[in-house]
Structures are given as C-alpha cells and as structure tokens.
Point group: C2
Chain length 152, copies 2
DNA sequence: GCCATATTGACAAGTATAATGTCAACATGA
DNA sequence: TCATGTTGACATTATACTTGTCAATATGGC
C-alpha cells in the first residue's frame, strides 16, 4: 500500500511536470530561433515537412493536432518567407503538396541540428537506458490518458 | 556515435511528448471536474493550498509561475464559491492568508483522490523503478532546459 | 517614529494561440 | 452527372494568460 502510493504519486508528479517541461522546451526553442527569421509556429511546419516529407495543409493539421484553418495561417507564413512552396498534388487537384525549398530545408536542418546538440549536452550524463525508459513511460502515460478522455 | 545519436533523439522525443502529455492530462483533469463546479484554474488554487497550506496570493502566483494579477482572479473565484476564505496574516497586514474552507478541503481531496485512482489504474503495470527513473529524467531535463534559457 | 520604497488588490487593456463559423470554388466518387 | 465532401480564405470568438497602471497601505531602514 505504501509503495503503491509512492509510485502513484511519482506518476502524478510526472504528469504535473509536463507543463513546466513544455514551457522550458518552448523557451529553449524560441531562444534557438532568435537569430533566424523563424517563429516557433513556422518552425513546427518546417519540422513536419522535414520529418515526413511533402504533405497537404490538412495533413499537417492532423499531424500537429491543430485545426486546419490555423495551420493554413502557419503554412502561409512559410510560403511568404520562401521556406516552402506548393507542388502539384497528384492525389488532390485543389490541395497542393507543401514542400521545403532549398532554403527552408537548410534552415530547419540547421535549427534541428543545434537543438540536438543542446540536448546532447544536457543529456550527456544520463544513462541511455534511463532515457529509453523515460520515453516509454511518457508515451504510455500519454496514450492511456488520451484513451481515458476519449474512449470512456 | 550511433548510440549517442539514438539516445539524443530519444531525449528529443521526450521533449516533444511534453505537449501531448500536457494536453492529455488537462483533458483528463477537466473530465474529472465535470461533475463538480470547479474549473481547472480554481482546482489549481485549491491544490496548492491543499499541498502547501495557507498562502497569500503572491505566494500562490510564485508557486504556479503565473502573474499575481491573474492568480488574483483565480483566487477570487474560489472565494466567491466559498471554497477558500481569507485569514488574517500575521506577517502581512494587507495580504491575507488564503485558506481552504471545509467545503473546499473536502472537494479538492476528493478530486485528487479520484485523479490518483485513475493514475493507479493507468500505471498498474508499469514497474515502479521505471516510473522513478522517468520522473528523474523529466525533472533533470526540465531543470537544465530552464538553466539554458535563463542562465545563458 | 518617520519616510522613502515596496507590496498588494483591483481594474483595464493587450497579446498569443488557438477554435469555430461560414462561404465559394471546386474536386471526388457513386 | 450530380450530390456530397474538401479546401482555402476570411471573420469572429475564446482562452489563458501578460502588461500597465493606480491608490492604498504596509514595511523596513534610519
């Protein structure tokens, strides 16, 4: 009983760390973008395209779990900045595929590389097993909390 | 080098899970409050008082890392609902100590108990060592990301 | 005890990040 | 072909805060 309670409260603490972690991460990302012309939301678009290849606006919205109308705004900013461009979409004539331009690809690659380097510094003394475990716990927690809100 | 990259990318994934985790947690909390008259922000005030005892508004603000002007609004709602009350503050004549009323204490205790029960269900098959490890990693990550944004 | 300075509560306004509503122009698919 | 769905665009609304300001008063150094 005692142990269950302890374990339970640790799970509770992980959940309540999610906001501080997110805020710290966003602050760090923002700082990393300071010397570029990117905003955090433009960065999000570029990252998705970088990780998953060309996509339509509704696809990016689904991936980011943000309504397509707002993603459209985000995407339009990247188009205006010349970081993405529209390509004809064989599967959908009205919904062009968004693709990174060379500039966009170089920029997001550099940004991500810097972020990775920062994380490497930060995590240098963390055992890699611990990191794997933490990721697994966080994923499972998220998934099950989602099920709880949705399914039930 | 390969392993470092893998480890690094797992850290990256933990960071990028923080938002989904937070959203899932908030949705679950909101659902847990559905049959009470509490809002998420009122719940936050009650939880702090429940965990740390009587405090002033500026103290709660510091604890939640939210500006005192907004916390004042949150607190005023709990006062109006009769879940908290003001007590004379020996250390500060103008800034009363906020205290839970009996109603407030019973309510937040019940809410937290239910949340704990949910987490116990969710985490039932997670080894308690893994949970401890995850908490430790998440804490360290948050702390160091904060240092990075602030100190540097 | 006095007084410069800080703190508090209250209120107003502004901002960022979205969600929601609506519409016309098409595209799709039965 | 045509009913239905999807997309981009634009407008409005919502939420969760931050920022600015002010008067009242409290505090702390002298």
């Amino acid at each position: 009983m005692y142990i269950v309670t302890m374990q339970n409260s640790e799970l509770y603490q992980i959940v309540w760390m999610s906001r501080p972690l997110m805020q710290a991460a966003e602050a760090a990302v923002e700082q990393g973008l300071a010397d570029t012309d990117l905003t955090v939301r433009m960065r999000a678009v570029l990252e998705v395209l970088h990780a998953e290849g060309d996509m339509t606006v509704p696809d990016i919205a689904a991936r980011l779990d943000i309504k397509r109308q707002y993603v459209q705004v985000m995407v339009n900013e990247t188009l205006t900045s010349g970081l993405t461009r529209q390509c004809p979409n064989p599967r959908h004539k009205r919904s062009p595929l968004l693709a990174l331009t060379d500039t966009g690809r170089a920029l997001i690659a550099q940004v991500i590389e810097r972020e990775m380097a920062l994380l490497q510094t930060i995590g240098a003394d963390l055992p890699s097993d611990d990191i794997s475990t933490a990721l697994r716990v966080v994923r499972m927690l998220t998934e099950r909390l989602r099920e709880e809100s949705a399914g039930t």
